[in-house]
Subunit: 246 residues, 2 copies
C-alpha cells in the first residue's frame, strides 16, 4: 500500500458539495471520486479531502489523499483517474506521499477566490461561476474593511452555526479585492476557514461597499463575535478553492 | 408596431445553435426567444439574428430584431424579457430602431473571441467554455500567420462546404492572439465571416503554432482557395460572438 496525494479541479455546479452523505443519493465529489477509484483500482478506499466545499462551490486545486495497492505508476495515475471521472471533475496532479501526510491536517493554509459580477445587467454565460451583485460599490471602502479583517482574529462572527470547532481564531494572511471593469475578484489566503467564513466575509464586504454597513460597524462585529450581525452569506457559485498550501 | 433591436448573451452549451430547425424538437436560441416573446407579448413574431451561431458557440453580444405591438416601454423591455427567458440566455440591451434597421444586413462587422487552454492538464471547470489544446505553441509563429490572414482576402479555403454565399471575399480588420499563462485568446474583428471560418482560422493558427504547418503553406492555401488543406475546425465551445458592429 502507498499513500497518494491527488489535486482535483471541479465544477461545483452539479455536485452536492464535497462530502459524501450517507443514506442519500446525492452526487458528491467524494462519492464520484470513490466510484472512479473503484473502476481504476478495484479498491474501495477512504478519501480524505483538504476542505469540504459546499454545494455549488468550485475547486481549481482541492487536495485529497487515500491509500492504494494499485501498481499504476504515479506519473500515469492522474491521466488514468481522469479517464474514469465524469467531465466536470479532473485529477490535475498526483504524487506519492509519506504516510505522515494528511490532506487536511498537513495543510498550512488555503487560498480562495470569490468572483463578483458587479452589474445590473442580467448574466447568462457565467451564471454558475460568479455572483451578480447589482449595486454600485465604493471600492475604497471595500478595501479599507478588507484591511480590518486581515490578520489574526477570532472570526466567530463570520462563521455559520453548525460546526463544532474548538477555536474560532483564524489568521488571514491576505485579503485582496481587485476590480476590472464590471468584475471584482476577492482573493483570500488564510491558515484556515470556519464554516461559510469566506462567503460571510464577501457578503460583509459587499454590504460595506454599497453603504449598508460601515467599517467601524464591521470592527465592532468582529470584536464582539456576534453571529448574524455582518453581511449576508454570498452564494456558493462565486467561490473557488484555488489552492491548498502545504 | 415598432421594431426592436435586442442584444443577447447566452451560454451555447445547451443550445443546438441559434437557428430554429423546422420539424425538430431541438432547443435553439431563436426558438427559446420566440417562446419567451409569446409569453411576454402574446405575439408570435419573426426573429432575425445577426449571426447563426453553431451548437455550443456562446454569445456575449448577439443581436436580433423583430416587430412588436407590445406597449412595454423599451427601457423596461430587457428586464421583462429576461424574466421570461431560461437562465442560460439573457437580454442585456433593448432599443427601438427604425424599420430600415436589419440585425444581419445592417451589420458592418462582428467581433469574435476564441479561448484556448494550452495545457496537458485535463480541464473540468471550463470544459464547455474553452478548447484545451495540449501541444506547446510557438506564439511568434502564430502571430506571424495571423498577420498574413489579416486584411481583405478570398477566404474560400477557410470556409466549410454547405453555405451558398455569392462571394467568399471577407475583410479581417484585426486578428490578435494574446497569451496569459496557459490561456490564449484569439480576437477577430471582420466585416463578415463564412461558415465555420473563425473556427477554421483558429485550427490553422494552432497547427502553425505546433509546427504542423508553416506560414508559407498557409499563404499558399489562402491564395489557392483549397478547402481542407489548412487546419482543423476548432471545436465550438471555445468560440464567443462578442459584438455585432453597426
Amino acid at each position: 500500500m502507498r499513500r497518494l496525494k491527488v489535486t482535483l479541479e471541479y465544477d461545483g455546479t452539479h455536485f452536492a458539495g464535497f462530502q459524501k452523505q450517507a443514506g442519500t443519493n446525492l452526487r458528491t465529489v467524494q462519492g464520484v471520486l470513490g466510484e472512479a477509484l473503484v473502476k481504476l483500482t478495484g479498491e474501495e478506499t477512504v478519501i480524505i479531502g483538504a476542505g469540504r466545499t459546499d454545494s455549488g462551490v468550485h475547486a481549481l486545486g482541492q487536495v485529497v489523499h487515500f491509500e492504494t495497492g494499485s501498481s499504476i505508476p504515479v506519473e500515469r495515475f492522474c491521466k488514468a483517474l481522469s479517464g474514469k471521472l465524469p467531465s466536470d471533475i479532473a485529477a490535475i496532479d498526483a504524487a506519492e506521499v509519506d504516510t505522515s501526510f494528511h490532506a487536511r491536517r498537513s495543510a498550512l493554509g488555503k487560498k480562495y477566490c470569490y468572483l463578483v459580477f458587479n452589474s445590473r445587467k442580467p448574466l447568462a454565460l457565467w451564471r454558475n461561476h460568479c455572483y451578480r451583485f447589482p449595486f454600485p460599490l465604493d471600492m475604497a471602502a471595500v478595501k479599507e474593511c478588507a484591511a480590518i479583517l486581515t490578520g489574526k482574529h477570532d472570526f466567530r462572527a463570520f462563521s455559520a452555526a453548525g460546526s463544532s470547532v474548538k477555536s474560532t481564531v483564524r489568521h488571514l494572511f491576505s485579503l485582496d479585492a481587485e476590480q476590472q471593469g464590471e468584475w471584482i475578484r476577492f482573493t483570500v489566503i488564510g491558515d484556515g476557514f470556519l464554516y461559510k467564513m469566506m462567503r460571510l466575509i464577501v457578503g460583509t464586504l459587499l454590504k460595506v461597499g454599497c453603504g449598508k454597513l460601515t467599517t467601524d460597524q464591521v470592527k465592532q462585529i468582529l470584536e464582539r463575535g456576534e453571529r448574524g450581525q455582518g453581511g449576508f452569506t454570498a452564494p456558493p457559485q462565486g467561490l473557488y478553492l484555488v489552492q491548498v498550501i502545504y
